[in-house]
Symmetry: C2
Subunit: 355 residues, 2 copies
């Protein structure tokens, strides 16, 4: 099996990110199912630089090659290795009804239809702020998930820095929250939300422009029952979004929801996040639902570092970027973190590539 | 809102376990949906002593009463409080297709049927070892879940101390693992498994009696790709099952699966488990799927502490005990823990009650 370790070591050099034997095995499994690089990233659950480093290594060592249609294919040498190591093709059994989320988005079909109707002119995702919208089915499922956990009805809810998904709008549209505050750096989204709130006469919701690198003002801290976010996966951004989200919670028992992906951060960094959540911030993790959030490939994909470092130029054909849905609960003694964020890398670091 | 804090404080005295405001709110939400104590425990996601302490407190303070059919009902005073605080009834939107697991058990219908057929004479759950079997749909879904994560095919798999669920048998029945070792303290289960393996000619699986309070022998340590368990929720048992499970992993990238419930441990203790997993044992948590594991109410329920401390004598009518499904991945530098367990409380502590 040492060959996999050797390949991982070389892939780490090429990709510039942490990779271990299992990562290489995952790419082999994915290659037995698809030649499309973006599908491989999706199936292997790896940061793009890691998947790219591995694929380039396999090509360099003669285990794989790129065909005329930019498919990545195993060579005979690659197929022999896979057989020798007993690596099998990737399989999936995702529920067709709920798309694997455990809660079907069509449970409240009127709500789903209204959301589609109201958001048909939604602002397009732009690159400036690391945007990438989730599918409408994802957004609606988030609200249903919150409702099923008692985190929606008559709650004061803050949606921070992820309104390209229009989750704040969906929460407000449900008309079940006590109040909704949407905070985002993108003026287009804030104006869009406020216009809809006004048109529909939703008077318990408002949207405000805010740059989360700045600390929250006093009136936001300790005021909410629930926060929702979808942070970029760098450590500074995690603090800015999740640390500050926790700081807005009124009291113990407060709840946070957010997406975390394995496409822009590794399982190694996930542990760092989890240590930070449970030890520093003082919350318990109650849910991690993989692939809950499905993202529509953003228009600016060809300009991203992901596209640049990919071993092929071919663009993604369908959904390839997914994230897990986290729910955390603030326990007695939880910590409110609200420091300014300096000039640290915010949107992009060595594992991230999609901004 | 201070009334909820006051009720929580009193409930903590009566129940003898940690309870906070949110716990009381959850019980109120559940009471707006059901009068059945076991359904209330299920909906409120609380340890039995906590739910019982809260219900008894509500009765003591005149917010609830027990009717002639042993239903717990809100009094007018209780209904007034609920309205005043804006507490709404518990709702759920669980996917009917996959029962909320994200993977439907009928995906491989032949496998499901074979499992039912083979296990029709399975040993009944007995009290001696804190047994309580999950439904066959749960067991089959566990195997499909493992397969979908690349943790089944050609893997060396150890199933430790949870064979009342027959998960080891199901893994072996899939005929996809490289090898399967089942370890359990209950000789009946071990003999059952070995008989089936023999009858079906499954020669890569075996079952052995072992008491997990004892350290594993050398030949088991560092030998497996994947372990599966379903520990009692005391801290010593967590170490014995999960710590030892991690110790059997061959290398970084090894994977563990186990159930953890909020019926026999609190969200407060969940954080302790999570700190231990991520900091001490050096694993990352990749999945927490709530209510993945549904347990058939055990025959010995009337003899349990749970039945004894419940505010009513009426037995559960259907599934009320569920647990979340955890998947963890061992990272570089993970720790192999294999100490003997002494006379500490193993099956039962203040939060546990179902053994």
């Amino acid at each position: 099996m040492n060959i996999l370790v050797e390949l991982a070591t070389r892939a780490k050099e090429i990709g510039g990110v942490r990779v271990y034997k299992k990562s290489v095995e995952r790419v082999f499994s994915a290659l037995l199912r698809s030649g499309d690089f973006w599908e491989i990233v999706d199936m292997a659950d790896l940061p793009v630089p890691a998947a790219s480093g591995i694929v380039r290594t396999l090509i360099e060592r003669g285990y794989a090659f790129i065909d005329d249609e930019e498919n990545i294919r195993l060579s005979q040498k690659g197929l022999d290795l896979v057989r020798e190591l007993g690596i099998e093709p990737y399989v999936e059994y995702v529920c067709q009804a709920c798309e694997g989320r455990g809660i079907p988005f069509y449970t409240d079909i009127d709500f789903y239809r209204e959301f589609l109707q109201v958001t048909k002119d939604r602002p397009r995702a732009i690159r400036d702020y690391d945007q990438g919208s989730v599918t409408p089915e994802t957004t609606v499922s988030r609200v249903l998930f919150m409702d099923s956990r008692g985190d929606l009805r008559n709650k004061d809810i803050l949606v921070l820095g992820a309104e390209d998904d229009l989750t704040g709008l969906a929460v407000a549209l449900s008309r079940k929250a006590r109040s909704v505050l949407v905070i985002d750096i993108d003026k287009r989204l804030i104006e869009f939300d406020n216009r809809i709130f006004k048109e529909l006469g939703i008077d318990n919701a408002e949207a405000k422009v805010w740059d989360l690198r700045n600390p929250f003002p006093e009136e936001v801290l300790g005021r909410y029952d629930v926060f929702v976010s979808d942070p970029p996966e760098t450590l500074p951004a995690f603090r800015a979004f999740i640390g500050r989200g926790i700081a807005t919670l009124r009291e113990e028992g407060g709840v946070g929801y957010f997406g975390l992906t394995l496409r822009d951060s590794s399982v190694f960094r996930w542990r760092d996040f989890q240590v930070s959540l449970t030890t520093e911030f003082g919350v318990a993790i109650t849910d991690i639902v993989q692939d809950f959030n499905a993202y529509i490939t953003w228009d600016y994909h060809p300009e991203t570092k992901a596209a640049e470092i990919a071993p092929v130029r071919r663009n993604p054909k369908g959904v390839w970027y997914r994230s897990a849905w986290y729910r955390v609960e603030a326990l007695p003694g939880f910590k409110r973190w609200n420091e300014p964020i300096g000039d640290e890398v915010f949107y992009l670091d060595e594992e991230g590539s999609t901004t």
